[in-house]
Amino acid sequence: MHCPAFIANNNIWISLLVGGLANGFLYALIALGYTLVYGVLRLINFAHSEVFMAGGFGAYFVLHAILGGTSPGGVFAIGYVVIGILAGGLIGAIVAFGVERVAYRPLRQRNAPKLTYLISAIGASLFLQYFAGKEFGRIPVFVPKPALVSGNALSVCGAPIQQMWILVFVVSILLLIFVDTIVNRTKLGRGIRAVAQDAETASLMGVNINRTISLTFIIGGMMGGAAGCLWGMQFGVGFQMGFVPGLKAFTAAVLGGIGNLRGAMLGGLLLGVAEAIPLKWISASWQDVVTFGVLVIVLMFKPTGILGEQLGRAA
């Protein structure tokens, strides 16, 4: 492929942007969980970063049991990736459901003050994190992946594009379309949007609120768990893996407008790119500071985010 000289000379930008975009898709997947729950309950689910972590561990255990440390080649080996993502999504959904049942529902039944929910959420997050640390060890491990997604796929103007990134693009886009369809096209989605707009009226219209809230957590948990699998293949799985991506995904949700489904997707992508660009000048250890700066700036100047807040209307 022929490419202009000025691009070839600055080809580091291509790697940075495409890699950032891949991370951005993962943030978008995690941010869906925050934004769905926020839309329905008006509550930041602090434990969502641990749902993400649980998904990573779920994928690790299933794939480790199947593959046992080998790394199979061939196109059909991509099936193992699908198994890993399904396992991650399933575990994520179970944990999210459990968190809702244990940490939120008893409080909701009592009509407790808002601060109580936040504290209970922090408790759930802390508990899950250190429980996983106790049961599964405190040293990070990598989710096994087939040889097909281990190397570089192609090179654009001399800049390497990892196969993993392409996998992330494909899987994320499919999952995002899936969630978008559920929320906008199905009866369940209509229920979710109705509860988000006005829970009391929705219950009068025959929407089972508790069931809808549980299903919202499950959908968010599935996405978070799948993201955990993809994250674990690239950066490893450990009991504290959820904290920083969780913070970033929340920033993404706020950036796009919390409670807004497409806003979360857009916010994730924008954040992924925005935090990749400064890597040209600063070391990776300062990356989180950039994210936090974005969060504070957005909250100062446009607290409703780019696409606005309403899950019921805008999504």
Partner: protein, 705 residues
């Protein structure tokens, strides 16, 4: 609300489920069955939590090890017990409550009289004597502490009584007799007083004992005067009785003045003086300090009797009001001040001063590094979370800022300050730095909704950690500060006063007392703050920000103020940490620390200052104790797992905390049950509260407010 029961027609009620499967499924749908399953599951989770750890290669080993068969029976039993307690709480709770009330109510009524309290306190003293004499002759301080507590409370009763003018002569006489006895035992030489001195039950110098004797004699004289007044009660009206009492106070005032001024009379070396005569009779030692002691007692007498006179004169023409109990929103409140809080404060202070002296060095170290500094932190966070209702998850950032400011100004960092200071003088700089950070972070973010604040502060804590870790040229990076932060030290040498003290890291006790003094100061300041205009504004904002705003409370201003006060307290604590551990590492300031402090505040009770102290002792002290003594194979790495579980359990069962602030309790109650006008039947409200909550209303009678 849990189960949306299917709408049944009348015919459905007629035929009950027939098949076995149908019956089982109906039973499984019931609330009781769900609760049973939940309890068993919780018990199994506890089993796994306390069991052995697993690893990434053998992920199930921890779980299977925890649920191995002889062990799991214990936890199934625990689950069944939890189920039984929860199920029968309504009956059990009310039975237990009424039973306890049957025992405690007469006791409370009895303790409401000063006589019975005095008797109780005398019993405490007696117990102290018995304890040191027979139970534990080698470890005498516990008995000595009992004696000191009983004696101090007794004297307090006396003072309150004298000011309160309640007629219970017997209690007074007990008190005087005790003081006389105490003074006599301290004053005389001989085996008994030697023994008392040895166990620390009496003041260590005889002049003080003599002073106590004099006080007791004076009090007996006053008592005799009052008896005289009572005897001629028919002719003397209460107003005149008060006048006479104030005259008695005046006499005491003059007496005290004489003691204070003519102290040479009390110097035993002055020939032909009263003291000389006393020392000739072996009642006073030949010591110049005797004169000083007497002078001090005289000064106290002046102050006390002056206050007495003022109180008596103010009391003339005023009717005494009986105390009233008001029940509202399930909370009992008293219209008059109770004795409980000051008495508990005195006991707590005496214990806090005396006990640590007798701990083993490891416990002393735990006390300073694990508890005392966390008490300071929790007091500050209590202002933010408890008073103003703002969830601050980056509290540790201000702690780090305070600590690194201290390191900078003491020359411990790679960059050099314009001047190097003693840690004492760094305190204002650290407070200002942390406060500035708080204002800078708070002003933009406190405009937003509360849950945004939580996540922004979480991010801020992470940013400060990353900064400390990465700016190796300024902070020293992960390997710590290159130089040591010096200890607190004080060297004042003048003609009048000579004081020299160093609070070094290796000797924990001086350090402990320094922190204790500051913690008490903070508690007093925050108590005043809570009841000031600022504190009331915080409460208004916390309960309903829109309403507060519409009433002209500048919400942002007060929120930033709370945030800044909390931040500066953390900065202050940071100086202590820096000068205590000497070398700072960014790993000391991770986000988990903020959450630990938050758990302390929530466990103790949001908005409750004693709660913050008790929370720090339990949350930080218990794990340190378990670790030190290797109890229950406790692994410190699991600390945060237990904290997380504790947070959830607290939020479900007791959101107001262990020592609940009365206001918080009322708020939670109102949010959960809706606002009810105070005039509508308060008894009915209380009974609703009784059924819906696990704890009894009015359980906390000596509230923390």
């Amino acid at each position: 609300m849990t189960t949306t029961a299917p709408v049944r027609g009348p015919s459905d009620h007629a035929d009950p489920p027939r098949t076995f499967v149908e019956r089982v499924s109906t039973a499984a749908q019931s609330k009781t069955a769900k609760r049973f399953v939940a309890c068993i599951l919780t018990a199994l989770v506890i089993a796994v939590m306390t069991g052995p750890s697993g690893s990434a290669l053998a992920p199930t080993s921890g779980i299977t090890g925890s649920l191995a068969f002889p062990r799991v029976w214990w936890f199934i039993g625990l689950g069944v017990a939890m189920f039984l307690v929860l199920t029968f709480w309504a009956q059990l709770g009310s039975t237990v409550k009424s039973g306890v009330a049957r025992v405690t109510t007469p006791a409370k009524v009895r303790l409401a009289t000063i006589r019975d309290r005095a008797i109780l306190e005398t019993l405490v003293i007696a117990f102290g004597f018995i304890y040191v004499t027979w139970i534990s002759p080698h470890d005498t301080w516990k008995g000595g502490l009992c004696i000191q507590i009983g004696a101090s409370l007794l004297v307090m009763e006396l003072v309150v009584y004298l000011w309160g003018a309640v007629s219970l002569r017997a209690a007074r006489l007990t008190g005087y007799a005790f003081i006389a006895l105490y003074g006599m035992l301290a004053a005389i030489t001989g085996p008994v007083s030697h023994y008392l001195n040895k166990i620390g039950a009496v003041p260590h110098n005889r002049p003080l004992g003599v002073g106590l004797l004099v006080i007791a004699a004076a009090l007996y004289a006053i008592e005799a005067l009052l008896v005289l007044i009572a005897a001629v009660h028919n002719v003397v009206t209460p107003k005149r009785a008060r006048l006479v009492a104030s005259l008695a106070g005046l006499a005491l005032l003059i007496y005290g003045f004489l003691m204070w001024t003519s102290w040479s009379q009390w110097d035993a070396t002055t020939p032909n003086s009263f003291a000389h005569w006393l020392s000739a009779k072996h009642l006073l030692v030949h010591d110049h300090s005797a004169g000083l002691t007497i002078m001090a007692i005289g000064a106290l007498l002046i102050v006390g009797s002056f206050l007495w006179i003022v109180a008596e004169l103010l009391g003339i023409g005023r009717q005494a009001r009986p105390p009233q109990h008001v029940e509202q929103f399930g909370i009992s409140r008293r219209s008059t001040r109770s004795m409980g809080t000051p008495a508990l404060t005195i006991v707590a202070l005496l214990v806090a001063v005396e006990w640590p002296l007798h701990m083993d060095p490891a416990s002393q170290s735990n006390l300073v590094t694990q508890i005392a500094i966390y008490v300071l932190l929790a007091l500050g966070l209590n202002v933010v979370v408890g008073f103003a209702g703002l969830l601050d998850l980056g509290y540790v950032a201000f702690y780090a800022i305070g600590a690194y400011t201290a390191a900078y100004f003491t020359g411990a960092l790679p960059i050099h300050p314009p001047f190097v200071l003693n840690p004492f003088f760094v305190i204002p700089f650290a407070i200002v730095a942390a406060m500035l950070a708080g204002v800078l972070l708070g002003t933009p973010t406190l405009r937003l909704r509360g849950d945004y604040l939580a996540i922004v502060t979480l991010g801020f804590g992470e940013v400060v950690f990353i900064t400390a870790n990465n700016l190796t040229g300024i902070t020293g990076g992960p390997s710590g500060t290159p130089n040591l932060v010096p200890s607190f030290s004080l060297h004042i040498v003048t003609k009048v006063l000579k004081a020299s003290q160093e609070w070094s890291a290796t000797s924990y006790m001086p350090y402990y007392y320094l922190i204790l003094a500051f913690a008490v100061l903070f508690m007093i300041a925050f108590t005043f703050l809570e009841h000031s205009k600022v504190g009331r504004s915080w409460t208004a904002i916390r309960e309903d920000e829109v309403a507060a705003d519409s009433l002209g409370v500048n919400a942002l201003k007060y929120k930033v103020m709370a945030f800044a006060i909390g931040a500066s307290t953390a900065g202050f604590a940071g100086v202590f940490l820096a000068s205590q551990i000497g070398s700072l590492y960014p790993a000391d300031f991770q986000v988990q620390l903020s959450i630990t402090v938050l758990v302390i505040v929530i466990f103790g009770g949001m908005g409750s200052l004693p709660g913050a102290v008790v929370g720090a002792i339990v949350i930080q002290g218990l794990p340190a104790y378990l670790q030190q003594h290797q109890i229950a194979s406790y692994n410190p790495e699991d600390f945060y797992m237990y904290l997380g579980a504790l947070l959830i359990v607290m939020m479900i069962f007791r959101p107001q905390g262990i020592i609940a602030s009365r206001r918080r309790r009322r708020e939670i109650y109102l949010t959960e049950h809706g606002v009810v006008p105070p005039s509508s039947g308060s008894d009915a409200e209380a009974s609703v509260y009784d059924q819906t909550s696990l704890d009894s209303p009015g359980y906390i009678s000596s509230e923390t407010e």
